[in-house]
């Protein structure tokens, strides 16, 4: 008992110091730190959208397509809805789609990767063939077909994108499980008769957290881009619910493109900044947790 406690304390010390080290290395990437603040700021805005938004995003007013003014900071759209409020809600939807998809695909990928790597054999072969199948598919085709079929609702988009994004995480986790399986501490646990569940979730899983986290940031960024692309093609979240993609859909009309820049530029810029800052954070995180990186 005493031994266990002692070990736990050591673990905690180790964990907190490694966390500090990662945070210090991350902090050296100025752009990533700024990006992280920006992401936090946007997340707060998105969560507080109902409080901040000056207008109901779907309320129609009589000022059609008016340029930015004091009443409407970013102008109004063709049927008189306040663009600033719509953008707030759109960011909320896009971040939610990105977050939910990332969680779903990462959880599915990690679990399947753990199973495939740890148990091997026929289970491994089947799971890896499925990941090959999904990965070697031009997945925008799959997503478009699926969106056309299941109807382009919010949760359908999340589930579809989640379904196509998990194979990467599965491969990643499987790879590290295969190498971890041969380490002495895992072999030791096996000899000691620890249950598989314990070895998988308490010994192997914690060692894969870093790479998975980095992978998850890239899924997050990709999902926001994909949702926007789907929305732009009219296959994403459907109006009147605002999403960054379906706001840009309007810019396919030539009058909006040429003379009503406030209807499409802000949405595009928000997507770009969100994706850019997520990528910066992911890149800095990769550097920070890479043990082979130079101090």
């Amino acid at each position: 008992m005493k031994f266990l406690t002692r070990r736990n304390i050591d673990n905690m010390e180790y964990k907190s110091s490694s966390f500090k080290m990662i945070a210090r290395r991350f902090g050296r990437h100025k752009l990533a730190v700024v990006s992280l603040y920006f992401l936090c700021f946007m997340t707060v805005l998105a969560i507080l959208a109902p409080v901040i938004a000056p207008y109901d995003p779907n309320k129609v007013s009589t000022s059609f397509s008016s340029p930015p003014s004091l009443q409407h900071w970013l102008g109004t759209d063709q049927i008189g809805r306040d663009m600033f409020s719509r953008l707030l809600y759109a960011t909320r939807i896009s971040l939610f789609v990105g977050f939910a998809t990332t969680v779903i695909s990462t959880v599915v990928g990690v679990v399947l990767g753990l199973i495939a790597g740890y148990f091997g054999g026929i289970i491994d072969i089947i799971i890896m063939r499925i990941t090959d199948t999904i990965m070697s598919f031009p997945y925008i085709l799959l997503v478009l077909v699926a969106a056309a079929i299941f109807g382009p609702g919010l949760w359908n988009i999340i589930l579809i994108l989640g379904f196509v994004d998990w194979p990467g995480a599965a491969r990643l986790v499987r790879g590290s499980v295969l190498s971890l399986r041969e380490t002495n501490f895992v072999k030791g646990s096996k000899v000691a008769g620890m249950p598989n569940r314990y070895i998988l979730f308490s010994e192997i899983l914690p060692n894969t957290v870093g790479p998975v986290l980095v992978y998850a940031t890239s899924v997050f960024a990709l999902t926001i881009l994909d949702e926007a692309a789907l929305g732009f093609l009219g296959m994403g979240v459907q109006p009147p619910t605002a999403s960054l993609g379906n706001i840009l859909n309007g810019a396919e009309s030539i009058t909006i493109l040429t003379s009503k820049f406030w209807l499409w530029v802000p949405a595009g810029v928000i997507i770009m900044l969100l994706v850019l800052s997520i990528n910066f954070v992911g890149d800095a995180l990769r550097d920070a947790i890479d043990p082979s990186a130079k101090e």
Binding site: I130, S136, F137, P138, L141, V145, L248, G268
Partner: protein, 314 residues
Amino acid sequence: MLKYTIKRILIAIPVLIGITILDYAIMSLAGSPLEMMIGPKTSEAALEARAIRLGLDKPFYVQYFVWLMNVLRGNLGYSVKSYQPVSEIIGNHLGPTLLLMGTSLLLGLAIAIPIGIYSAVHRYTRRDYALVTISFFGTSVPSFFLALIFIYLFTVRLGWLPSSGIRTAGGDGGIADLIWHLIMPVLILAISVAGSNIRYVRGAVLEILQKDYVRTAKSKGIGRFLVINKHALRNALIPIVTVIGMQIPTLFGGAVIIEQIFSWPGLGLITMNAITGRDYPVIMGVALLTAIVVLLSNLLTDIIYALVDPTIKY
């Protein structure tokens, strides 16, 4: 080598079949394509006759096997909408898409490889950070947003470049006209290809530059040019080649969106039309084709990999 290639092909076959089953299953969930044709002029009986003729009254797996057997005999079926053979539709639209994707890939790599090497050689300098940061912009800008900006700038404001189609209506359709129409879509796709590749190339070269044999080459005093171009670059090619193969699906996805915006008469455009019109045979045909292309490019990548790296033994 031959044995390895055959083994890889045998592995690819179940993946290919898996892809077609997946496609077919999703599509059969969608319901009948005939639903879209119901109108005042079509009677129930006529629709039923049509369904039986198309084999839509049979269960999903029977339909799939009928389709698969036809494909094996080289028959991809007929479009539900236009009654044209699917192989003919695909054949007519394949050229423009290959042209678009091929040019974009080449241009993207032509930008990414020199920049990536430059960045790796000047690692951890200001220039390196600037280039890497710029490459992130390339991957983070949604291609359709970039397309809108380009159309606004180069078509609407400056009037320099055409924003739709593959040739000027009523024009002679010469090669200059084609290039004229190609510039904007290719540039946009190439920017995203370059954006993601700069960091791959940089990473690959960086890793090689830390190897002992590069240090040896340097200490021999053969000069920086030879060290980089003869020793480092050749070995860095291996990971770069792998990454190129992986990009074909992404590139096709980008092409679907870009073709839509620029009304480029390629596979992406007809696929979008087929998806909205639930023209299953066409969708299945395109899905099969893209799957084969992707698997072939993966196979080719592995073979080139083995050729480039003499230490890999199979």
